[in-house]
């Protein structure tokens, strides 16, 4: 197939002089079944034939095929390009471009799957590398990057010179370098290309280097001299004795071990009147008994003898285990492993930074979810189990606004203050109706707000259904800020981080620099004294609670944007939020920040230790928090003096 491609290129270059009686339709009819139901492995024939034909119509056909515009008309089996416009279907003849009207029932679509579309893309590469349309050139480059192939090197090199777009030119030459590293003709050319890639930690460069460095395990009595040895393996250190022996068995260098199943099968096959191998059947209910019976059979040469431990050790001792590169040239593998080693260090550092960014992002989400609670619980000391439901209310507000305002940017701008207003209202109402009466009974506040929480959750289910609702972020928040191929963070997470920062500053400002903040602190520390100074504690409590709830609403919009909006989303955050506040230290916004950071970084740290089980990470994190609180009940940032009194 590769050879065919290179022939195809030359044919393509020569095509004006090639005369052929064939049409595209003829070729398609030869492979009608394959065109209608293409498969990745078998479509090559069709593509080769088309490319070989050198027909100018092959190119538009391939593009149309990739875009799923090809149909077969059932009466005559002819293929057309179909364009649907409302109810009308126009059919274009593939060779002449003549149009006709199609009837829906007669037409069967050809549906090339992802693999076939990639194969078509590969075939198109040759045509598109120098296409005047930059998008097609881009597509061709992408196609090469996805599946590199020796045949692509020459046309790619040829197209670099004439590439008008500077950015694409750079991509092309980078790609050419990668192709040269693998498919370069001389070792020198490959080594040059390899050393040119040093320091580039992108995934595709590492992919190229790793492919060059692909190695296979081998075993032999002596180290083979003709192989390019990557590493000699030490039994007991690089591989276990069992693995080593299994490798020997696989290479037919040692007899296979007799497993327990083998023994049982052999014994079952050799039962002789209540005895097997001279041992009564009743005694075969232990491994020792069975081994004895098996040895009895082995002595009669009915079965192969068991391999003793000493024999195993001797066999392993007598052989050398090694890893050998597939690439025979040591100079190339040396250059590649050197380049890769330099990259690996970079990658490790980048991964650490990336993990740090993820942790920071998680911390900011926890902070945002908990900051409202830091006010109501941390400052006022009110347990509000419905806090999570305020988050949910905020998120649903965002969802409802998007139903009426289709512009996502505008809808978010409306939703944020609206969510604040709604949850502020809900918070104030709840404070007036319920919490006000329970200020001296904190445990009952917990239960009453829990009642509100389940009622609100169920209400949301009744109104919006149990299905998750979409809250779509505006386009400018799509995508990610990419530093390199390893470090990247999505814009939406950056936005949440920025929002968390803003709220931190805002709350600090309100509490420390405004009249309201002064009054809030006064009321929290000593309501009686505050009242006698002319402050209305009722009003202050109401406003503070409203503020905390309102912020939860805004947090809800943010959380909904990055994850999902469901009636249960609040419950996901409530326990974590309380722990964030408690771990950080009650009564202090900085404490909440510290708590969120600790939890965020801790969780990512544990996840990194055990990447295959996120649930375990959450479990251990909560266990850690429980222990942490046991030993430091006042949290990280503990208040000192009279304010700390319960």
């Amino acid at each position: 197939m590769l050879r065919l491609f290179s022939i195809a290129i030359s044919l393509w270059l020569l095509f004006p002089t090639t005369s052929s009686a064939q049409t595209v339709q003829d070729i398609l009819q030869t492979h009608a079944e394959e065109v209608l139901k293409p498969g990745r492995r078998s479509v090559g024939v069709v593509l080769d034939d088309l490319v070989d034909s050198g027909l100018p119509q092959a190119l538009p056909f391939l593009e149309a095929w990739r875009d799923r515009e090809i149909v077969q008309r059932s009466p005559d089996g002819l293929f057309f390009r179909a364009v649907e416009d409302g109810d009308e279907i126009t059919l274009f003849d593939l060779d002449t471009g003549e149009t006709s009207v199609g009837v829906d029932d007669d037409l069967t679509e050809s549906r090339p799957n992802g693999g076939v579309r990639r194969a078509i893309g590969d075939a198109l590469v040759q045509f598109q590398l120098s296409d005047p349309d930059i998008e097609k050139r881009q597509a061709a480059v992408d196609a090469i990057a996805r599946s590199m192939d020796a045949s692509q090197l020459a046309p790619l090199m040829a197209s670099i010179e004439g590439e008008p777009d500077a950015g694409l030119k750079e991509v092309k030459s980078r790609l050419a370098g990668m192709l040269a590293a693998t498919f370069g003709e001389t070792p020198e050319a490959r080594i040059d290309a390899i050393s040119g890639m040093a320091g580039d930690l992108s995934v595709d460069v590492r992919a190229v280097l790793n492919t060059i460095l692909a190695s296979e395990a081998g075993v032999a009595a002596d180290l083979p001299s003709d192989a390019n040895i990557a590493q000699v393996l030490e039994v007991g250190k690089d591989l276990t004795a069992e693995e080593a022996y299994a490798q020997l068995v696989a290479a037919d260098l040692a007899p296979a071990l007799i497993t327990k199943t083998d023994i049982r099968t052999a014994l079952e096959a050799n039962i002789d009147g209540g005895f097997a191998g001279g041992v009564p059947l009743a005694n075969l209910n232990t491994d020792a008994g069975r081994a004895q019976a098996y040895d009895g059979l082995a002595q009669l040469e009915l079965v192969p003898p068991r391999v003793t431990d000493a024999e195993q050790a001797a066999a392993i001792e007598a052989h050398t285990f090694f890893m050998a590169y597939d690439e025979p040239d040591a100079a190339i593998t040396d250059a590649a492993s050197e380049a890769l080693a330099a990259i690996q260090t970079n990658v490790a550092v980048s991964q650490a930074v990336d993990l740090g960014l993820d942790a920071l992002s998680l911390a900011s989400i926890y902070f945002l979810a908990a900051i409202g609670l830091a006010i109501t619980f941390g400052v006022m000391g009110v347990i509000n189990m419905a806090h999570g439901e305020f988050i949910m209310m905020g998120a649903y507000t965002g969802f409802v606004v998007q139903q009426f305002v289709p512009d996502y940017t505008l809808s978010i701008i409306i939703a944020l203050p609206l969510a604040f207003a709604i949850t502020f209202g809900a918070g104030v109402t709840m404070e007036r109706l319920v919490i006000r009466h329970l200020y001296h009974r904190p445990l009952e506040t917990l239960l009453a707000t829990f009642g509100i929480s389940i009622a609100l959750q169920q209400l949301a289910k009744n109104i919006f259904g149990t299905q998750a609702r979409p809250l779509t972020s505006p386009e400018w928040l799509d995508g990610a800020l990419v530093f390199n191929d390893v470090i990247g963070i999505s814009y939406i997470r950056i936005a949440i981080f920025v929002m968390a920062l803003i709220f931190l500053c805002l709350i600090l400002f309100v509490l420390k620099r405004t009249r309201l903040g002064l009054e809030v602190r006064a009321v929290t520390q000593n309501p009686g004294m505050a009242a006698s100074m002319g402050i209305n504690p009722d009003r202050i409590n109401m406003l503070t609670f409203g503020l905390g709830s309102g912020i939860a609403g805004i947090a809800g919009v943010a959380i909904g944007l990055y994850a999902k909006v469901t009636s249960e989303m609040g419950a996901d955050y409530i326990v974590q939020s309380f722990m964030t506040v408690v771990v950080g230290g009650v009564g202090n916004v900085w404490g909440t920040l510290a708590g969120a950071s600790l939890i965020g970084f801790l969780q990512k740290g544990i996840e990194w230790l055990n990447p295959s089980n996120t649930l375990a990470a959450q479990t251990y994190m909560i266990l850690f928090i429980i222990l942490f609180i046991q030993f430091r009940p006042k949290g990280i940032v503990a208040l000192k003096g009279r304010a700390a009194a319960d």
Partner: protein, 388 residues
């Protein structure tokens, strides 16, 4: 001593008498006696409700009497269920495995038996090895000991750490909730060795009684639950009526003062916390064989909060209040969610109680907390006051 205790607490006698009467009536009307007025599934529901009453009593003692709002007692309940469930599953599977292996040409080795059992139990969740926590699962008596020991030790260690650090009030509530969450998350993992989200199932089939009908098994468990409830009630009533009860209630009302009087507050709290945890676990061990399946969802933090809700609605600080709350709310709840309640047609909207029951429960809970802090049990006070 016993007499004076009962004479001081006539309500205990009343309660035991009513419970006995109830048990006898249900037994007589069940399918076992052939009357069949009460179906087996309803006997199971009643038996389970009795277990819930027992755990509610424990909750009442720790919260209503001692003032510790524990949001973790349903976790202990679940641990009890898991502990007994492990034996039930193991023994049942062992029977099946031995029977199928008996047909083989040569007798199985102990390792083969254990592998086969492991494969049967864990095969459905994609593993076959026996985790270490199943070490005692083959022995009923050891596993029964586990029902008491595991939650007891957990409560002891947790309580000791928490009370020693003087973690009180809402902080303790949040901490116990975190413990429950951690336990539920742990059990949700498949790697936990307790079959993850699937939990332990088929627990209603009691090994050794394969031939017994579910009708008779359900009655046995119903009576056992009633006896356990009665015993728990007497035990806690006795504990809370003596001097110890006074100290414990003193701690609830003003911990600092009791401490200044020279009592070692932490020890009392630790005792109450641990004892109630053990009783909760026993209730769980009786509950899950009737439910038939236990899984981590049962232990989720919300279940423990519901427990508090029952006690609060029934009336804190009185044991019969807890029983009333648990029985009333859980039965009403299953009536509403089971579609038993008629829909209300408002003309423009039809209230379907399966959808609106939780809203009603939530709101009624707020109302009870705000206006009837003594719960349903408080009604008795009103009656008593009117009479006098």
């Amino acid at each position: 001593m016993q007499r004076s205790f009962l004479s001081q607490n006539p309500s205990v006698l009343w309660f035991i008498a009513l419970l006995a009467l109830f048990t006898i009536i249900v037994t007589l009307m069940s399918e076992v006696t052939g009357v069949g007025l009460i179906s087996t599934s309803f006997v199971k529901t009643l038996g389970k409700t009795l277990c819930l009453c027992l755990v509610a009593i424990a909750m009442d003692v720790v919260w209503g009497y001692c003032g510790i709002l524990s949001l973790g007692h349903f976790a202990f309940f679940g641990i009890g269920g898991y502990a007994i469930g492990m034996w039930l599953m193991y023994a049942r599977t062992e029977g099946i495995v031995l029977e199928s292996l008996a047909g083989q040409a040569i007798p199985p080795t102990p390792a083969e038996i254990s592998d086969a059992i492991g494969n049967q139990i864990f095969g459905v969740v994609g593993s076959s090895e026996f985790p270490a926590i199943w070490a005692f699962a083959d022995n009923l008596y050891l596993q029964l000991l586990m029902v008491v020991l595991v939650p007891g030790l957990l409560a002891l260690v947790f309580g000791w750490l928490a009370f020693r650090s003087r973690v009180t009030g809402v902080y303790l509530s949040i901490l116990t909730q975190a413990m429950t969450l951690a336990l539920a998350l742990y059990l949700f993992q498949n790697d936990s060795g307790l079959r993850g989200n699937n939990g332990l199932s088929g627990l209603q089939n009691i090994p050794g009684f394969e031939d017994a009908s579910q009708a008779s098994i359900s009655i046995v468990f119903f009576i056992a639950s009633a006896v356990a409830l009665a015993a728990g009630y007497i035990f806690f009533a006795w504990c809370m009526s003596g001097k110890m009860g006074s100290v414990v209630q003193g701690i609830r009302d003003n911990e600092a003062r009791v401490r200044f009087l020279g009592y070692h507050v932490e020890s009392y709290k630790l005792f109450v916390f641990t004892a109630t945890a053990v009783v909760a676990a026993i209730a769980g061990a009786l509950y899950y064989p009737q439910a038939g399946i236990i899984n981590p969802g049962e232990i989720a933090p919300i279940a423990s909060i519901y427990l508090a809700v029952w006690v609060a609605i029934g009336g804190r600080g009185r044991l019969y209040g807890a029983v009333i709350g648990a029985a009333f709310v859980s039965l009403v709840s299953s009536w509403f969610t089971g579609g038993g309640a008629p829909n209300v047609n408002l003309g423009f909207y039809t209230i379907q109680w399966t959808d609106w029951w939780l809203v009603l429960l939530g709101v009624s809970f707020v109302v009870v907390t705000l206006f009837f802090p003594k719960g349903i049990g408080g009604l008795f006070d009103l009656i008593v006051r009117k009479q006098s």
